[in-house]
Amino acid sequence: MSRLHFIAMRLVKTALVVFAVVLLSFLLIRLAPGDAATVMAGQSGYADEAFMKSLRAEYGLDKPLPAQLATYLGTVARGDLGTSYVRRQPVLDIILERLPNTLLLDAFALVVAIAGGVWLGAAAARRPGSAGDASVTVLSMLFYAVPQFWLGMMAVLVFSVWLAWLPPFGIETMGADYTGLARAGDIAKHMVLPGMTLALYYLASYARLTRTAMIEVADQDFVKTARAKGIRESQVARRHILRNALIPLVTFAGLQASILVGGSVLVENVFSWPGIGTLAYEAVTARDNPLLLGIFIVTAVLVSLFNLVTDIAYSIADPRVEMGR
């Protein structure tokens, strides 16, 4: 099956998943108690029936459910995710405005997690049962057991409150209006705490996975063959053991994407990082259905595309997969 055919198949699958996401969240949120009209009524402090009725009409909330779904699907197809009830702005604009911040944070976390995790895992696997190996295992189990949001709060407590080394909140120093390199430096400084908090959780899982994968591969026959061929031990470790251990890592990276988005809701909330994580939380508490639905769709599409990338990477890493299903 040629690679293009494989990608086409995967894109169809992504579309199916996104459609399922839209359908599920649409049904779920439409059936939820309370709707947009009550949102705005509640917020403006003063409201009466006339005001509420006009709002419902304006946002088409009085039409029957299937009609609402049909109109909604039509608009989504055109890329219009509706307007946010609370912010009175197109949902897509709000999300796209905040998405880069989340992508920046998640990318940083993923890179640190994969690099750190593989390096730690490989080091632990080289001397199984040694002190180094045991400490990596316990350390990774530790980070696996720590609630992410609490880890974030501890980071704020230590590095911002007590040591005051790093800014605890936001993406930039407020009102400083730096530009160019200064601004990049400022953002980087702000990204350290949330980024590391998000990364440590996944670093732990990558370290564990790399360690177990490498120990398992080290027992395989072809590693014995390599040694029988008189290959230097370091080359055996890199070219034979690590090369094969990477395969499960690639699929694991794919699975991590959706968990990463979930994780960033918590970390962004603790650090007031203006990403779609905080947006999702605000949308849920303010019952802003279109915004929440929009975030679902955008994250689902992103994660699906990321999975497509990892699938292709997997097929490159493991020639045994003839780009089959």
Partner: protein, 275 residues
Amino acid sequence: MKKFAAVFLGRPMALVGLAVFAAIVATALAAPLLFARGPFTIVGMPLLPPGAPGLLAGSDVLGRDMLVGLAYGARISLLVGITSTLGAVGIGVLLGAVAGYYGGVTDDLLMRVTEFFQIIPSFVLLMVLVAFLQPSLNSTVIGIALISWPQVARVVRGEFLSLRGREFVQAARTLGMRDAAIIFTQILPNALPPIMVVSSMMVGSAILTESALSFLGLGDPNLLSWGSMIGGSRSAMWVAWWTTVLPGLSIMVTVLALNFIGDGLNDALNPRRGR
């Protein structure tokens, strides 16, 4: 079975985990005996530091005894962790078994559904579920169970797929055993080890998820759990560190203990390494 005990007890970390977990469950159950007053009783001024008179762990933002709060908080966290895992394992085993054993359409269908749950950010879905069902203990448990059963289903399906081909299963069919008997007496007992490992890890992650929900204010308002204690202390943290540090440590220790047990189970029950 005795070989399993030998290997499991042989692993120091698993033993420590079991001891710590048992201690936590014991304190949670014995809380009414240990402490005269309930977790909500106001005992003094808020935000008194640990070691203040009569307050080993200090007082929280409402002037309640933190130590009593931590003991009663354990109840909710453990209750949610265990019940939601049981729910998830129940659904997961059922669907995984059917898909793994019969294969074909049911298998493909289940794989599509589990893949869907992998794609969608599960925590965001959980937030909506809990908000939709109005935050309460039930909605938390149902929500967590709904987003974690696919993980179990995938493991069970994998086990059933491999065990279905084993010769003792084919022998059972030639001996005339009905499908149900084969599933429950032949395959399921052999699929139990990985299920137990996944379940023990899942109790830990369920506790973490519950604490995250309570932290975001989506937990049950009438109950005191470690997560809600941390959630309530987001501002207080700046003037009273113990209101955040102590509940967080309790969660970490409990989940760590569970992970150690899971690791021990994995080694003891995993034929390859255990033998």
